[in-house]
Symmetry: C2
Protein backbone atom coordinates (compact mmCIF):
# COMPACT_ATOMS: atom_id res chain seq x y z
CA UNK A 1 0.00 0.00 0.00
CA UNK A 2 1.38 3.40 -1.03
CA UNK A 3 1.24 6.00 1.70
CA UNK A 4 2.39 9.59 1.64
CA UNK A 5 3.34 11.63 4.72
CA UNK A 6 2.96 15.34 4.11
CA UNK A 7 2.96 18.22 3.39
CA UNK A 8 5.71 18.01 6.04
CA UNK A 9 7.55 14.69 5.84
CA UNK A 10 7.97 14.00 9.56
CA UNK A 11 10.51 11.14 9.91
CA UNK A 12 8.75 9.76 13.02
CA UNK A 13 5.56 9.28 11.01
CA UNK A 14 7.34 7.87 7.96
CA UNK A 15 9.01 5.32 10.21
CA UNK A 16 5.64 4.41 11.70
CA UNK A 17 4.20 3.80 8.23
CA UNK A 18 7.08 1.53 7.29
CA UNK A 19 7.04 -0.28 10.64
CA UNK A 20 3.39 -1.20 10.04
CA UNK A 21 4.16 -2.57 6.58
CA UNK A 22 3.17 0.45 4.49
CA UNK A 23 5.21 1.76 1.57
CA UNK A 24 6.18 5.44 1.38
CA UNK A 25 5.37 7.06 -1.94
CA UNK A 26 4.88 10.45 -3.58
CA UNK A 27 1.47 11.97 -2.92
CA UNK A 28 0.19 11.45 -6.45
CA UNK A 29 0.77 7.68 -6.25
CA UNK A 30 -0.53 7.23 -2.71
CA UNK A 31 -3.92 5.76 -1.82
CA UNK A 32 -3.44 6.91 1.77
CA UNK A 33 -2.19 10.19 3.14
CA UNK A 34 -0.86 10.91 6.64
CA UNK A 35 -1.44 14.64 6.91
CA UNK A 36 1.11 16.57 8.96
CA UNK A 37 2.45 20.06 9.27
CA UNK A 38 -0.02 22.31 7.41
CA UNK A 39 -3.48 23.83 7.61
CA UNK A 40 -6.47 22.00 6.06
CA UNK A 41 -6.76 24.76 3.44
CA UNK A 42 -3.77 23.16 1.73
CA UNK A 43 -5.43 19.73 1.45
CA UNK A 44 -6.09 20.33 -2.27
CA UNK A 45 -2.35 20.28 -2.96
CA UNK A 46 -2.12 16.58 -2.09
CA UNK A 47 -5.68 15.45 -2.86
CA UNK A 48 -6.26 13.35 -5.98
CA UNK A 49 -8.90 10.89 -7.24
CA UNK A 50 -6.97 7.81 -6.12
CA UNK A 51 -6.98 8.87 -2.46
CA UNK A 52 -8.93 6.50 -0.18
CA UNK A 53 -7.90 7.35 3.34
CA UNK A 54 -6.51 10.41 5.11
CA UNK A 55 -5.12 10.23 8.65
CA UNK A 56 -5.41 13.64 10.31
CA UNK A 57 -3.00 14.71 13.06
CA UNK A 58 -5.48 16.33 15.48
CA UNK A 59 -8.14 14.92 17.78
CA UNK A 60 -10.63 17.68 16.85
CA UNK A 61 -11.54 18.06 13.19
CA UNK A 62 -13.67 21.22 13.21
CA UNK A 63 -11.07 23.16 11.18
CA UNK A 64 -11.18 20.49 8.50
CA UNK A 65 -14.94 20.67 8.44
CA UNK A 66 -14.88 24.47 8.25
CA UNK A 67 -12.38 24.37 5.39
CA UNK A 68 -14.72 22.02 3.48
CA UNK A 69 -11.89 19.53 3.17
CA UNK A 70 -13.77 16.45 4.43
CA UNK A 71 -14.85 15.45 0.93
CA UNK A 72 -16.97 12.46 -0.04
CA UNK A 73 -15.24 9.33 -1.27
CA UNK A 74 -12.40 9.56 1.22
CA UNK A 75 -12.30 8.06 4.72
CA UNK A 76 -10.89 10.56 7.18
CA UNK A 77 -9.56 9.43 10.54
CA UNK A 78 -8.78 11.84 13.35
CA UNK A 79 -6.27 11.23 16.12
CA UNK A 80 -9.09 11.21 18.69
CA UNK A 81 -7.98 9.28 21.74
CA UNK A 82 -4.32 9.14 20.74
CA UNK A 83 -3.46 12.06 22.99
CA UNK A 84 -5.79 11.16 25.86
CA UNK A 85 -3.02 10.47 28.40
CA UNK A 86 -1.01 13.53 27.36
CA UNK A 87 -4.00 15.84 27.65
CA UNK A 88 -5.25 14.25 30.86
CA UNK A 89 -1.84 14.80 32.45
CA UNK A 90 -2.04 18.46 31.49
CA UNK A 91 -5.59 18.66 32.86
CA UNK A 92 -4.33 17.31 36.19
CA UNK A 93 -1.62 20.00 36.15
CA UNK A 94 -4.29 22.66 35.54
CA UNK A 95 -6.41 21.30 38.40
CA UNK A 96 -3.48 21.35 40.82
CA UNK A 97 -2.52 24.83 39.64
CA UNK A 98 -5.99 26.05 40.53
CA UNK A 99 -6.25 24.11 43.78
CA UNK A 100 -2.91 25.31 45.09
CA UNK A 101 -2.78 28.76 43.46
CA UNK A 102 0.46 27.93 41.65
CA UNK A 103 -0.26 30.49 38.90
CA UNK A 104 -0.24 33.32 41.45
CA UNK A 105 2.96 32.07 43.05
CA UNK A 106 4.70 31.76 39.68
CA UNK A 107 4.15 35.47 39.04
CA UNK A 108 5.39 36.72 42.42
CA UNK A 109 8.82 38.20 42.96
CA UNK A 110 8.61 38.14 46.72
CA UNK A 111 7.78 35.69 49.49
CA UNK A 112 4.06 35.79 50.20
CA UNK A 113 2.65 32.78 52.00
CA UNK A 114 -0.89 31.81 51.15
CA UNK A 115 -3.00 30.32 53.89
CA UNK A 116 -5.82 29.12 51.66
CA UNK A 117 -5.75 26.25 49.21
CA UNK A 118 -7.98 23.49 47.98
CA UNK A 119 -7.14 19.84 47.59
CA UNK A 120 -8.07 17.15 45.11
CA UNK A 121 -8.34 14.62 47.94
CA UNK A 122 -12.02 13.88 48.32
CA UNK A 123 -13.03 16.55 45.79
CA UNK A 124 -15.95 16.23 43.38
CA UNK A 125 -14.84 16.36 39.75
CA UNK A 126 -17.37 16.93 36.96
CA UNK A 127 -16.29 15.92 33.47
CA UNK A 128 -18.33 17.29 30.58
CA UNK A 129 -17.55 15.15 27.55
CA UNK A 130 -16.11 12.08 29.25
CA UNK A 131 -14.41 10.21 26.38
CA UNK A 132 -10.81 9.09 26.12
CA UNK A 133 -9.36 12.10 27.95
CA UNK A 134 -11.96 11.75 30.69
CA UNK A 135 -11.21 8.07 31.16
CA UNK A 136 -7.50 8.75 31.40
CA UNK A 137 -8.09 11.62 33.83
CA UNK A 138 -10.28 9.43 36.02
CA UNK A 139 -7.36 7.00 36.21
CA UNK A 140 -4.93 9.74 37.23
CA UNK A 141 -7.37 10.99 39.87
CA UNK A 142 -8.04 7.58 41.40
CA UNK A 143 -5.40 7.91 44.17
CA UNK A 144 -7.08 11.13 45.33
CA UNK A 145 -10.34 9.35 46.07
CA UNK A 146 -12.30 11.90 44.09
CA UNK A 147 -15.99 11.58 43.29
CA UNK A 148 -16.45 11.75 39.53
CA UNK A 149 -19.66 12.95 37.87
CA UNK A 150 -19.57 12.36 34.12
CA UNK A 151 -21.54 13.67 31.18
CA UNK A 152 -21.27 12.19 27.72
CA UNK A 153 -23.36 12.01 24.57
CA UNK A 154 -24.74 8.52 25.09
CA UNK A 155 -25.15 8.56 28.84
CA UNK A 156 -23.44 5.16 28.87
CA UNK A 157 -21.86 4.76 32.32
CA UNK A 158 -18.23 5.85 32.43
CA UNK A 159 -16.04 3.52 34.48
CA UNK A 160 -14.92 5.16 37.68
CA UNK A 161 -17.71 7.75 37.63
CA UNK A 162 -20.28 7.70 40.39
CA UNK A 163 -22.92 8.59 37.81
CA UNK A 164 -23.05 9.44 34.12
CA UNK A 165 -25.64 11.72 32.52
CA UNK A 166 -26.56 12.20 28.87
CA UNK A 167 -25.38 15.53 27.50
CA UNK A 168 -28.96 16.41 26.50
CA UNK A 169 -30.25 15.81 30.04
CA UNK A 170 -30.32 19.47 31.11
CA UNK A 171 -31.29 18.85 34.76
CA UNK A 172 -28.51 16.26 35.00
CA UNK A 173 -25.91 18.64 33.63
CA UNK A 174 -27.10 21.29 36.10
CA UNK A 175 -26.61 18.77 38.91
CA UNK A 176 -23.00 18.29 37.81
CA UNK A 177 -22.44 22.06 37.58
CA UNK A 178 -23.75 22.53 41.11
CA UNK A 179 -21.74 19.70 42.68
CA UNK A 180 -18.33 19.97 41.04
CA UNK A 181 -15.32 21.42 42.86
CA UNK A 182 -13.53 21.05 39.52
CA UNK A 183 -15.45 21.17 36.25
CA UNK A 184 -13.38 19.71 33.43
CA UNK A 185 -14.39 20.30 29.80
CA UNK A 186 -13.27 17.55 27.44
CA UNK A 187 -16.04 17.50 24.83
CA UNK A 188 -15.58 18.05 21.09
CA UNK A 189 -16.53 21.42 19.63
CA UNK A 190 -19.92 20.93 17.99
CA UNK A 191 -23.09 22.95 17.58
CA UNK A 192 -24.39 21.31 20.79
CA UNK A 193 -21.34 22.16 22.89
CA UNK A 194 -20.91 25.73 21.66
CA UNK A 195 -20.91 28.05 24.69
CA UNK A 196 -21.94 25.18 26.90
CA UNK A 197 -20.44 27.15 29.79
CA UNK A 198 -22.29 30.44 29.54
CA UNK A 199 -23.42 32.97 32.14
CA UNK A 200 -26.23 30.66 33.28
CA UNK A 201 -23.93 27.65 33.68
CA UNK A 202 -21.33 29.73 35.52
CA UNK A 203 -24.01 31.01 37.91
CA UNK A 204 -24.84 27.40 38.82
CA UNK A 205 -21.26 26.47 39.71
CA UNK A 206 -20.01 26.21 43.30
CA UNK A 207 -18.53 29.47 44.63
CA UNK A 208 -14.99 28.07 44.97
CA UNK A 209 -15.06 25.79 41.94
CA UNK A 210 -12.45 25.77 39.20
CA UNK A 211 -13.26 25.49 35.53
CA UNK A 212 -10.68 23.52 33.53
CA UNK A 213 -10.91 23.56 29.74
CA UNK A 214 -8.75 21.14 27.75
CA UNK A 215 -11.30 20.81 24.94
CA UNK A 216 -11.99 23.77 22.68
CA UNK A 217 -12.38 27.47 23.42
CA UNK A 218 -15.80 27.59 21.79
CA UNK A 219 -17.26 25.63 24.73
CA UNK A 220 -16.96 28.69 26.99
CA UNK A 221 -18.47 32.16 26.75
CA UNK A 222 -15.31 34.16 27.44
CA UNK A 223 -17.12 37.39 28.33
CA UNK A 224 -19.35 35.66 30.85
CA UNK A 225 -16.35 33.83 32.30
CA UNK A 226 -14.36 37.05 32.73
CA UNK A 227 -17.30 38.65 34.53
CA UNK A 228 -17.56 35.63 36.88
CA UNK A 229 -13.80 35.75 37.55
CA UNK A 230 -13.75 39.49 38.16
CA UNK A 231 -16.59 39.18 40.65
CA UNK A 232 -15.01 36.13 42.28
CA UNK A 233 -18.16 34.08 41.70
CA UNK A 234 -16.10 30.95 41.01
CA UNK A 235 -12.68 29.94 42.29
CA UNK A 236 -11.04 30.36 38.94
CA UNK A 237 -10.43 29.06 35.46
CA UNK A 238 -7.49 27.14 34.02
CA UNK A 239 -7.75 27.20 30.26
CA UNK A 240 -5.67 25.42 27.68
CA UNK A 241 -7.99 26.65 24.93
CA UNK A 242 -9.72 29.98 24.56
CA UNK A 243 -12.16 31.96 22.48
CA UNK A 244 -10.77 33.83 20.61
CA UNK A 245 -7.69 31.72 20.10
CA UNK A 246 -4.98 32.85 20.20
CA UNK A 247 -5.93 35.37 22.86
CA UNK A 248 -4.77 38.86 21.89
CA UNK A 249 -1.63 40.17 23.63
CA UNK A 250 -2.39 41.55 27.07
CA UNK A 251 -5.90 39.98 27.22
CA UNK A 252 -7.25 40.19 30.80
CA UNK A 253 -7.30 36.37 31.12
CA UNK A 254 -3.51 36.44 31.05
CA UNK A 255 -2.22 37.03 34.56
CA UNK A 256 -5.72 37.31 36.01
CA UNK A 257 -5.48 36.36 39.69
CA UNK A 258 -8.24 33.80 39.17
CA UNK A 259 -7.10 32.53 35.80
CA UNK A 260 -4.32 30.51 34.28
CA UNK A 261 -3.84 30.18 30.53
CA UNK A 262 -1.66 27.51 28.95
CA UNK A 263 -1.57 28.42 25.26
CA UNK A 264 -3.00 25.25 23.67
CA UNK A 265 -0.16 23.31 25.23
CA UNK A 266 -1.89 20.22 26.59
CA UNK A 267 -0.47 18.25 23.69
CA UNK A 268 2.89 19.86 22.86
CA UNK A 269 4.79 18.78 19.78
CA UNK A 270 7.45 16.91 21.74
CA UNK A 271 4.77 14.62 23.20
CA UNK A 272 2.40 14.74 20.21
CA UNK A 273 4.69 13.22 17.60
CA UNK A 274 5.47 9.99 19.48
CA UNK A 275 1.77 9.53 20.27
CA UNK A 276 0.71 10.30 16.69
CA UNK A 277 3.35 7.91 15.36
CA UNK A 278 1.89 5.12 17.52
CA UNK A 279 -1.59 5.89 16.15
CA UNK A 280 -0.34 6.01 12.54
CA UNK A 281 1.40 2.67 12.94
CA UNK A 282 -1.72 1.12 14.45
CA UNK A 283 -4.04 2.49 11.76
CA UNK A 284 -1.75 1.50 8.88
CA UNK A 285 -1.54 -1.99 10.35
CA UNK A 286 -5.34 -2.11 10.67
CA UNK A 287 -5.82 -0.80 7.13
CA UNK A 288 -3.50 -3.46 5.68
CA UNK A 289 -5.24 -6.17 7.73
CA UNK A 290 -8.69 -4.98 6.70
CA UNK A 291 -9.63 -4.15 10.29
CA UNK A 292 -11.72 -1.10 11.29
CA UNK A 293 -9.65 2.08 11.61
CA UNK A 294 -9.45 4.08 14.84
CA UNK A 295 -10.96 7.56 14.88
CA UNK A 296 -13.08 7.39 11.71
CA UNK A 297 -14.63 10.84 11.26
CA UNK A 298 -18.37 11.30 10.92
CA UNK A 299 -18.60 14.67 9.15
CA UNK A 300 -22.30 14.95 10.10
CA UNK A 301 -21.56 14.56 13.83
CA UNK A 302 -18.55 16.86 13.61
CA UNK A 303 -16.03 14.49 15.19
Amino acid sequence: MNIHVGPVAAPELQEAVVAAGGRLSPAAEASALVWYGAEPERFGELDHPGLEWVQLPAAGIEEWAAAGALRDGVTFTSAAGAYADTVAEHALGLMLTGARGLHVMARADRWERRSAAASLFGATVGILGAGGIGRSLIGLLRPFGVRVLAVNRSGRPVEGAERTWRADDAPGVREVLAAADFLVLAAPATAETSRLVDADALSRMKPGAWLVNVARGALVDTGALLAALDEGRIGGAALDVTDPEPLPDGHPLFRHPRAFVSPHSANPKSLLLPALARRVEENVRRHLAGEPLLGVVDPAAGY
Copy 2:
Protein backbone atom coordinates in the same frame (compact mmCIF):
# COMPACT_ATOMS: atom_id res chain seq x y z
CA MET B 1 -6.66 14.29 81.42
CA ASN B 2 -6.17 18.05 81.34
CA ILE B 3 -5.01 19.38 78.00
CA HIS B 4 -4.28 22.94 76.97
CA VAL B 5 -4.36 24.21 73.38
CA GLY B 6 -2.20 27.27 72.92
CA PRO B 7 -0.78 29.87 72.82
CA VAL B 8 -3.46 30.26 70.11
CA ALA B 9 -6.65 28.45 71.10
CA ALA B 10 -7.60 27.01 67.69
CA PRO B 11 -11.21 25.74 67.98
CA GLU B 12 -10.54 22.86 65.53
CA LEU B 13 -7.83 21.52 67.85
CA GLN B 14 -9.88 22.06 71.00
CA GLU B 15 -12.73 20.09 69.44
CA ALA B 16 -10.30 17.31 68.54
CA VAL B 17 -9.10 17.10 72.17
CA VAL B 18 -12.65 16.86 73.45
CA ALA B 19 -13.69 14.37 70.77
CA ALA B 20 -10.90 12.04 71.91
CA GLY B 21 -11.99 12.26 75.53
CA GLY B 22 -9.56 14.90 76.76
CA ARG B 23 -10.50 17.81 79.01
CA LEU B 24 -9.57 21.37 78.07
CA SER B 25 -7.87 23.28 80.84
CA PRO B 26 -5.70 26.32 81.53
CA ALA B 27 -2.01 25.78 80.73
CA ALA B 28 -0.90 25.74 84.38
CA GLU B 29 -3.25 22.81 85.18
CA ALA B 30 -2.55 20.81 82.03
CA SER B 31 -0.36 17.73 81.84
CA ALA B 32 -0.47 17.87 78.08
CA LEU B 33 -0.08 20.80 75.71
CA VAL B 34 -1.15 21.05 72.09
CA TRP B 35 1.12 23.79 70.81
CA TYR B 36 -0.31 26.02 68.11
CA GLY B 37 0.18 29.48 66.71
CA ALA B 38 3.53 30.72 68.04
CA GLU B 39 7.28 30.26 67.69
CA PRO B 40 9.13 27.77 69.94
CA GLU B 41 10.88 30.66 71.69
CA ARG B 42 7.60 31.25 73.55
CA PHE B 43 7.44 27.69 74.92
CA GLY B 44 8.58 28.92 78.34
CA GLU B 45 5.33 30.87 78.73
CA LEU B 46 3.30 27.66 78.92
CA ASP B 47 5.92 25.24 80.25
CA HIS B 48 5.62 24.10 83.87
CA PRO B 49 6.85 21.17 85.97
CA GLY B 50 3.60 19.21 85.62
CA LEU B 51 3.87 19.02 81.83
CA GLU B 52 4.28 15.47 80.48
CA TRP B 53 3.54 15.65 76.79
CA VAL B 54 3.66 18.37 74.12
CA GLN B 55 2.13 17.86 70.67
CA LEU B 56 3.90 20.10 68.13
CA PRO B 57 2.12 21.35 65.02
CA ALA B 58 4.89 20.84 62.43
CA ALA B 59 6.40 17.74 60.86
CA GLY B 60 9.94 19.12 61.15
CA ILE B 61 11.20 20.05 64.63
CA GLU B 62 14.56 21.66 63.87
CA GLU B 63 13.37 25.09 65.06
CA TRP B 64 12.36 23.56 68.41
CA ALA B 65 15.74 21.93 68.70
CA ALA B 66 17.52 25.19 67.80
CA ALA B 67 15.48 27.09 70.38
CA GLY B 68 16.54 24.58 73.05
CA ALA B 69 12.90 23.93 73.84
CA LEU B 70 12.99 20.12 73.65
CA ARG B 71 13.69 19.77 77.34
CA ASP B 72 14.17 16.55 79.27
CA GLY B 73 11.24 15.11 81.20
CA VAL B 74 8.68 15.95 78.54
CA THR B 75 7.65 13.76 75.61
CA PHE B 76 7.43 15.82 72.43
CA THR B 77 5.49 14.55 69.43
CA SER B 78 5.79 16.12 66.01
CA ALA B 79 3.11 16.03 63.32
CA ALA B 80 5.39 13.95 61.09
CA GLY B 81 3.30 12.01 58.64
CA ALA B 82 0.09 13.91 59.34
CA TYR B 83 0.58 16.11 56.29
CA ALA B 84 2.00 13.47 53.97
CA ASP B 85 -0.93 13.49 51.54
CA THR B 86 -1.17 17.28 51.53
CA VAL B 87 2.53 17.72 50.83
CA ALA B 88 2.64 14.89 48.28
CA GLU B 89 -0.21 16.52 46.37
CA HIS B 90 1.78 19.75 46.27
CA ALA B 91 4.89 17.85 45.15
CA LEU B 92 2.90 16.39 42.27
CA GLY B 93 1.81 19.91 41.34
CA LEU B 94 5.45 21.03 41.37
CA MET B 95 6.46 18.10 39.18
CA LEU B 96 3.74 18.84 36.63
CA THR B 97 4.64 22.54 36.71
CA GLY B 98 8.19 21.66 35.77
CA ALA B 99 7.26 19.00 33.22
CA ARG B 100 4.80 21.21 31.39
CA GLY B 101 6.45 24.60 31.96
CA LEU B 102 3.34 25.95 33.70
CA HIS B 103 5.39 28.53 35.65
CA VAL B 104 6.54 30.17 32.42
CA MET B 105 3.00 30.20 31.01
CA ALA B 106 1.60 31.74 34.20
CA ARG B 107 3.88 34.74 33.80
CA ALA B 108 3.14 35.40 30.13
CA ASP B 109 0.79 38.12 28.94
CA ARG B 110 0.67 36.91 25.38
CA TRP B 111 0.02 33.69 23.49
CA GLU B 112 3.28 31.81 23.04
CA ARG B 113 2.94 28.13 22.26
CA ARG B 114 5.67 25.88 23.60
CA SER B 115 6.62 22.86 21.54
CA ALA B 116 8.68 21.13 24.22
CA ALA B 117 7.44 19.47 27.37
CA ALA B 118 8.17 16.47 29.49
CA SER B 119 5.74 13.93 30.84
CA LEU B 120 5.45 11.95 34.04
CA PHE B 121 4.29 8.91 32.05
CA GLY B 122 7.15 6.45 32.17
CA ALA B 123 9.48 8.91 33.92
CA THR B 124 12.06 7.95 36.53
CA VAL B 125 11.43 9.59 39.89
CA GLY B 126 14.10 9.67 42.59
CA ILE B 127 12.94 10.30 46.14
CA LEU B 128 15.58 11.30 48.67
CA GLY B 129 14.10 10.72 52.11
CA ALA B 130 11.25 8.38 51.25
CA GLY B 131 9.07 8.44 54.38
CA GLY B 132 5.40 9.27 54.68
CA ILE B 133 5.43 11.96 51.98
CA GLY B 134 7.35 9.67 49.65
CA ARG B 135 4.91 6.81 50.18
CA SER B 136 1.96 9.08 49.49
CA LEU B 137 3.66 10.52 46.38
CA ILE B 138 4.39 7.02 45.08
CA GLY B 139 0.68 6.33 45.36
CA LEU B 140 -0.23 9.48 43.44
CA LEU B 141 2.31 8.64 40.74
CA ARG B 142 1.16 5.04 40.28
CA PRO B 143 -1.20 5.78 37.35
CA PHE B 144 1.71 7.34 35.44
CA GLY B 145 3.67 4.11 35.47
CA VAL B 146 6.76 5.86 36.80
CA ARG B 147 9.90 4.05 37.93
CA VAL B 148 10.65 5.05 41.52
CA LEU B 149 14.15 4.98 43.01
CA ALA B 150 14.07 5.59 46.74
CA VAL B 151 16.64 6.59 49.34
CA ASN B 152 15.95 6.46 53.05
CA ARG B 153 17.92 6.20 56.27
CA SER B 154 17.44 2.49 56.86
CA GLY B 155 17.55 1.27 53.28
CA ARG B 156 14.43 -0.78 54.08
CA PRO B 157 12.61 -1.32 50.76
CA VAL B 158 9.93 1.27 50.10
CA GLU B 159 6.74 -0.21 48.63
CA GLY B 160 6.32 0.79 45.02
CA ALA B 161 9.99 1.65 44.55
CA GLU B 162 12.04 -0.39 42.11
CA ARG B 163 14.95 -0.18 44.51
CA THR B 164 15.74 1.51 47.83
CA TRP B 165 19.20 2.64 48.90
CA ARG B 166 20.50 3.64 52.32
CA ALA B 167 21.16 7.36 52.63
CA ASP B 168 24.79 6.68 53.60
CA ASP B 169 25.37 4.56 50.47
CA ALA B 170 27.09 7.27 48.42
CA PRO B 171 27.39 5.27 45.17
CA GLY B 172 23.70 4.36 45.46
CA VAL B 173 22.65 7.98 45.91
CA ARG B 174 24.77 8.92 42.90
CA GLU B 175 22.94 6.27 40.88
CA VAL B 176 19.63 7.89 41.80
CA LEU B 177 20.95 11.36 40.92
CA ALA B 178 22.07 10.14 37.50
CA ALA B 179 18.85 8.29 36.65
CA ALA B 180 16.10 10.60 37.89
CA ASP B 181 14.00 12.73 35.54
CA PHE B 182 12.51 14.19 38.71
CA LEU B 183 14.48 14.31 41.94
CA VAL B 184 12.18 14.86 44.90
CA LEU B 185 13.60 15.91 48.28
CA ALA B 186 11.48 14.79 51.23
CA ALA B 187 14.06 14.18 53.95
CA PRO B 188 14.18 15.91 57.35
CA ALA B 189 16.72 18.69 57.88
CA THR B 190 19.57 17.12 59.83
CA ALA B 191 23.36 17.42 59.89
CA GLU B 192 23.49 14.53 57.39
CA THR B 193 21.06 16.09 54.89
CA SER B 194 22.48 19.63 55.05
CA ARG B 195 23.36 20.72 51.48
CA LEU B 196 22.76 17.20 50.25
CA VAL B 197 22.16 18.75 46.82
CA ASP B 198 25.36 20.70 46.27
CA ALA B 199 27.38 21.53 43.14
CA ASP B 200 28.65 17.95 42.91
CA ALA B 201 25.18 16.41 43.20
CA LEU B 202 23.76 18.87 40.66
CA SER B 203 26.53 17.99 38.22
CA ARG B 204 25.49 14.34 38.43
CA MET B 205 21.85 15.00 37.57
CA LYS B 206 20.37 14.37 34.11
CA PRO B 207 20.53 17.41 31.82
CA GLY B 208 16.73 17.82 31.60
CA ALA B 209 15.92 16.74 35.16
CA TRP B 210 13.82 18.74 37.59
CA LEU B 211 14.67 19.15 41.25
CA VAL B 212 11.61 19.29 43.53
CA ASN B 213 12.10 20.28 47.17
CA VAL B 214 9.20 19.86 49.59
CA ALA B 215 11.47 19.14 52.57
CA ARG B 216 13.64 21.94 53.94
CA GLY B 217 15.69 24.63 52.23
CA ALA B 218 18.88 23.56 54.00
CA LEU B 219 19.02 20.41 51.86
CA VAL B 220 20.03 22.47 48.82
CA ASP B 221 23.04 24.72 48.18
CA THR B 222 21.17 27.69 46.72
CA GLY B 223 24.22 29.27 45.08
CA ALA B 224 25.17 26.06 43.31
CA LEU B 225 21.56 25.54 42.23
CA LEU B 226 21.31 29.05 40.76
CA ALA B 227 24.51 28.48 38.80
CA ALA B 228 23.16 25.20 37.43
CA LEU B 229 19.88 26.88 36.47
CA ASP B 230 21.56 29.87 34.84
CA GLU B 231 23.72 27.56 32.76
CA GLY B 232 20.77 25.30 31.93
CA ARG B 233 22.59 22.25 33.29
CA ILE B 234 19.36 20.81 34.68
CA GLY B 235 15.79 21.22 33.47
CA GLY B 236 14.79 23.30 36.45
CA ALA B 237 13.89 23.49 40.11
CA ALA B 238 10.51 23.69 41.82
CA LEU B 239 11.02 24.68 45.41
CA ASP B 240 8.53 24.91 48.22
CA VAL B 241 11.35 25.61 50.68
CA THR B 242 14.49 27.67 50.23
CA ASP B 243 17.71 28.76 51.85
CA PRO B 244 17.50 31.49 53.01
CA GLU B 245 13.83 31.33 53.88
CA PRO B 246 12.00 33.53 53.25
CA LEU B 247 13.83 34.44 50.06
CA PRO B 248 14.55 38.17 49.93
CA ASP B 249 12.31 40.27 47.65
CA GLY B 250 13.38 40.07 44.02
CA HIS B 251 15.67 37.07 44.59
CA PRO B 252 16.70 35.59 41.21
CA LEU B 253 14.92 32.30 41.98
CA PHE B 254 11.63 34.17 41.75
CA ARG B 255 10.53 34.29 38.12
CA HIS B 256 13.64 32.46 36.93
CA PRO B 257 12.70 30.74 33.64
CA ARG B 258 13.94 27.44 35.06
CA ALA B 259 12.58 27.87 38.56
CA PHE B 260 9.29 27.94 40.38
CA VAL B 261 8.99 28.95 44.02
CA SER B 262 5.93 28.19 46.13
CA PRO B 263 6.54 30.03 49.40
CA HIS B 264 6.39 27.16 51.92
CA SER B 265 2.86 26.45 50.76
CA ALA B 266 2.82 22.67 50.45
CA ASN B 267 0.86 22.52 53.66
CA PRO B 268 -1.26 25.67 53.75
CA LYS B 269 -3.21 26.57 56.84
CA SER B 270 -6.58 25.71 55.30
CA LEU B 271 -5.43 22.12 54.75
CA LEU B 272 -3.07 21.93 57.76
CA LEU B 273 -5.64 22.49 60.49
CA PRO B 274 -8.00 19.65 59.56
CA ALA B 275 -5.04 17.26 59.21
CA LEU B 276 -3.49 18.43 62.50
CA ALA B 277 -6.86 18.08 64.24
CA ARG B 278 -7.07 14.45 63.08
CA ARG B 279 -3.56 13.83 64.44
CA VAL B 280 -4.35 15.53 67.77
CA GLU B 281 -7.50 13.47 68.17
CA GLU B 282 -5.62 10.26 67.44
CA ASN B 283 -2.74 11.07 69.79
CA VAL B 284 -5.02 12.15 72.64
CA ARG B 285 -6.98 8.93 72.19
CA ARG B 286 -3.74 6.93 72.25
CA HIS B 287 -2.46 8.80 75.29
CA LEU B 288 -5.65 8.10 77.25
CA ALA B 289 -5.56 4.43 76.18
CA GLY B 290 -1.90 4.07 77.12
CA GLU B 291 -0.92 3.30 73.51
CA PRO B 292 2.30 4.55 71.86
CA LEU B 293 1.99 8.09 70.49
CA LEU B 294 2.56 8.92 66.82
CA GLY B 295 5.55 11.09 65.92
CA VAL B 296 7.53 10.86 69.17
CA VAL B 297 10.57 13.11 68.75
CA ASP B 298 14.10 11.80 69.23
CA PRO B 299 16.05 14.99 70.00
CA ALA B 300 19.36 13.20 69.29
CA ALA B 301 18.27 12.16 65.78
CA GLY B 302 16.75 15.56 65.11
CA TYR B 303 13.29 14.35 64.09
